[in-house]
Symmetry: C2
Subunit: 382 residues, 2 copies
C-alpha cells in the first residue's frame, strides 16, 4: 500500500477502518460525529457506546463486532489499500459536494468515511478530469457500441471514465476506456474483492491492474440492492458530469443522473431510436430538460468545459451553437457585466439560469470571444 | 368553386388573381400596398405602374404580362379554386403571425395574397387544429415509419397534418394521416396542377380528393429552389406547432423549424440513432434548445396543448413530467400569481421563460391542477 503522507499514523488508518466498517453507508450522523471529535476519539467513543442517539442508530448493530486492525490487515494481505480523507490522494474536490449536500438537506449524501481500493492509480489524479459514464444493464447492441465509443473517446481526450462495472453500458464504457488508455475507475456496491458481477471478474482484474476498483464497503461485503443506489452517489460525485448512454423508463442510471443533477453536475443523455425501450429513460431526461442531448464524446467535453483540453470543433457544431445560444447566452453575458471575476455558481444566481446551463454556456461564450476565465473567475469581453 | 360569402364580387377575385400572379411571393411591399389602397384599387394602380418604388421592384417584370380573368378562368376549368382573405374560409388565425412577422422585421414573412386550392375541405376548418409534420426527403426507413405513425396518431386525435408532399418524411406523414382520416393539407412550391414530385402524383390526387392541396403560386408555376423556402413559411404558419421527424445537418425541414420558431410556434423533433445521418438535424435542434424532444404523437399533443382534446396520459409520462417541471414550472406558476388571466405571451414576458417553454408547460400545469384556462386567459390555482 502507498501512504503518501509520512506523518500519517497507523492508528488513524485503523480507526478509519473501524469507522468504515461499523456503519452501513451512508452514515451522515457518524460522519458529522467524526468531524466534531476527530477520527481516533470518535472511534473510541463509538466503541464505548458513548454517542448521541442518531449515531447509535447507525453503529449499534456492529460496534462490538468489527475490528479495524483485523479488517485492515486482511485487506492488505489481499492487495487492497485503505484510502482516507487525511491522505493527499483523497479527492476532496470531487467529494466535497457530498458534504454540502448533507448540509442543504439532500438525504443520504454523506461523504464516504474511507475507501477500499485496488489498483495503481491515484484516485485524486485520475478523477481530476473525469466523466461518469453509465447506463442500463439491459443494453442494446447500439447502446454498448456507443458506450464503448464514448469511453474510448473520453479517455483518448484525457478524461477518466468512472462507472459501476455492471453488465451492459457500464462494462462497455470501461472497456472503451481501457482500449484508449488506463484511465478508468469502477465503483462497486460490494467489497472490491468480490468480483461482482461474476462475468466481469476478468474486466475487474484488468481495471485493478491499470486503473482503480474502489468501494466504501469493507472487503468481503456482499452486494445488496440498496448498496447500488448508495454507491451511485460516488459515481455521480466523481465525474465532472454524467452521461447516460442508454436507460429504460426506470433504471439505476436514472438514479445516478438524478444524483449528479442534485449535486450540480451537468447531466447528459444519448438519444436512440424512439422504438427502443433502452432509450426511453434518456429521452425522458432530455425531454424534461434534466439532461442535455449529446451524440458523441466531443459534445460531452463541450458541455463539461475545456478544463485543460480545447473542445473538439466539428464544423457542424458551429451553426448549432449560434442557433441555440441566443437568449440564454445573452442573459449570461449580461450577468458577467461589471464583474471582476465570477464563478459559475455566482453567475447562475445572477442570471437566474440553471447552473448546468451556465456551465455549458461559459465555454461556448469563451470560444465566441465573449468571456474569458481569469484568475478570479469568469470575466466579460465585449 | 365555392364562395362562402354571397356579397363577394367577381371583380375582387379577379383583382386578387391578378395580384397573386403579378409578384413573386413573398411580396411584402405589395401586401402593404393592398392593405393601404384596397384590393381592386391596388390592382388598377399596379397595372398602371402608379406605385412606390418598393412595389415597382416586386411587380415590374410581370405587371403587363398577367391577366387575372384568364388565370382565374383557366384555374376553374381545372377544378382549382381561388381562396382570398375576404372569404370566411381564409385562416386568418394561422396567417396573422406572418404579417406580425413583417412588422417586427422578420424578412420575407408576408401573408400570401391569395391561395390556389384543390380539394373539398375548408382550409380554415382543417387548420384550426393542425400540426406541421415535416422532414428530410432522404429519410430512412425508421424515419418514414415514424412519420406515418405521427401522421396517423395526430390525425386520429383530431389534428390535421400539414406538410409539403415531398418524398421521404412529408409523403409518409400525409399517408399516415390519410390512413386515419381525411385531414391533411399539402402546401406546394409550384402550381397545384403541377403534380410535383412526379412520383407523388397519385398521393397528391388523393389529398386533393379528401383533404387540400394548396399553393400561393398560380397554376402552371414550376417549382424553383427558392420557392421551397418561401412555401415553408406557410407550412410553419399553418401548424399550431411543427414536428421534425428526420432531418440531416442542413435540410429544408430545418428551415421550416426555424421559421416556426421565429413565428412563435413550438418546434418539436424526434430523436433517432446518433449513428444515423438522417437524425443529425433533429439532434442539433434538441441539443440547442430550439426543439423539444418528442417520441410519439401524444407528446406532440402534450406540447401543443389540449385545444379541445385531452392529452393522452401514457402512465410513463407521469414521473417524467414531475421530474422535469420543477424549476421552470415553479417559475411559471409564480408568474401566474396575482393575474386575473394572462396569455402565454404575457406569461413568457413575466416569467422570462421562452414562449415555447411557456406553451409547453401550461397544459402540464393545467393537468397538475395548478393552472386553469379561464375566459380572460390563464389563471393560477393553488
Amino acid at each position: 500500500m502507498s501512504i503518501d503522507d509520512g506523518s500519517l499514523r497507523e492508528e488513524l488508518l485503523v480507526a478509519r477502518a473501524y469507522l468504515s466498517a461499523v456503519a452501513e453507508p451512508p452514515a451522515p450522523a457518524l460522519v458529522r460525529f467524526i468531524g466534531r471529535h476527530g477520527v481516533q476519539r470518535a472511534a473510541e467513543l463509538v466503541r464505548a457506546g458513548d454517542v448521541p442517539d442518531a449515531v447509535t442508530e447507525e453503529v449499534e448493530a456492529r460496534r462490538e463486532h468489527v475490528c479495524g486492525e483485523r479488517i485492515l490487515g486482511r485487506a492488505r494481505e489481499n492487495g487492497i489499500r485503505l484510502l482516507v480523507p487525511e491522505q493527499r490522494e483523497w479527492p476532496h474536490e470531487r467529494f466535497s459536494c457530498l458534504s454540502d449536500a448533507t448540509e442543504i438537506g439532500i438525504a443520504g449524501m454523506a461523504e464516504p468515511i474511507a475507501l477500499w481500493v485496488r489498483g495503481p492509480a491515484s484516485l485524486r489524479a485520475v478523477t481530476e478530469k473525469s466523466v461518469a459514464t453509465v447506463g442500463a444493464r439491459a443494453a442494446s447492441g447500439y447502446g454498448e457500441t456507443l458506450a464503448a465509443e464514448f469511453g474510448y473517446g473520453l479517455c483518448g481526450a484525457g478524461f477518466t471514465v468512472v462507472s459501476g462495472a455492471a453488465y451492459g453500458i457500464d462494462g462497455a464504457a470501461h472497456r472503451g476506456a481501457l482500449a484508449a488508455g488506463d484511465s478508468t475507475v469502477a465503483y462497486l456496491a460490494c467489497g472490491v474483492d468480490m468480483d461482482y458481477p461474476a462475468g466481469h471478474s476478468r474486466l475487474l482484474r484488468t481495471i485493478a491492474e491499470r486503473g482503480l476498483v474502489v468501494s466504501e464497503y469493507v472487503p468481503g461485503t456482499s452486494p445488496r440492492r440498496h448498496r447500488f443506489l448508495v454507491r451511485n452517489r460516488l459515481i455521480a460525485a466523481s465525474g465532472q458530469g454524467a452521461v447516460v448512454v442508454e436507460a429504460g423508463a426506470r433504471s439505476g442510471a436514472g438514479n445516478t443522473a438524478n444524483t449528479a443533477d442534485a449535486l450540480g453536475r451537468p447531466v447528459m443523455a444519448v438519444p436512440g431510436p424512439v422504438t427502443s425501450a433502452s432509450s426511453v429513460g434518456c429521452h425522458m431526461m432530455i425531454r424534461s430538460g434534466k439532461a442535455v442531448l449529446v451524440t458523441g464524446p466531443e459534445e460531452v467535453i463541450e458541455v463539461i468545459g475545456p478544463m485543460g483540453t480545447s473542445p473538439v470543433d466539428d464544423g457542424a457544431g458551429q451553426p448549432r451553437r449560434g442557433d441555440g445560444l441566443d437568449r440564454d447566452a445573452k442573459q449570461l453575458h449580461d450577468a458577467l457585466a461589471g464583474s471582476d471575476g465570477a464563478s459559475a455558481e455566482q453567475l447562475a444566481r445572477d442570471s437566474g439560469l440553471p447552473l448546468r446551463k451556465v456551465r455549458s454556456l461559459l465555454p461556448a461564450l469563451e470560444m465566441a470571444g465573449l468571456a474569458v476565465l481569469g484568475e478570479n473567475g469568469w470575466v466579460r469581453r465585449a
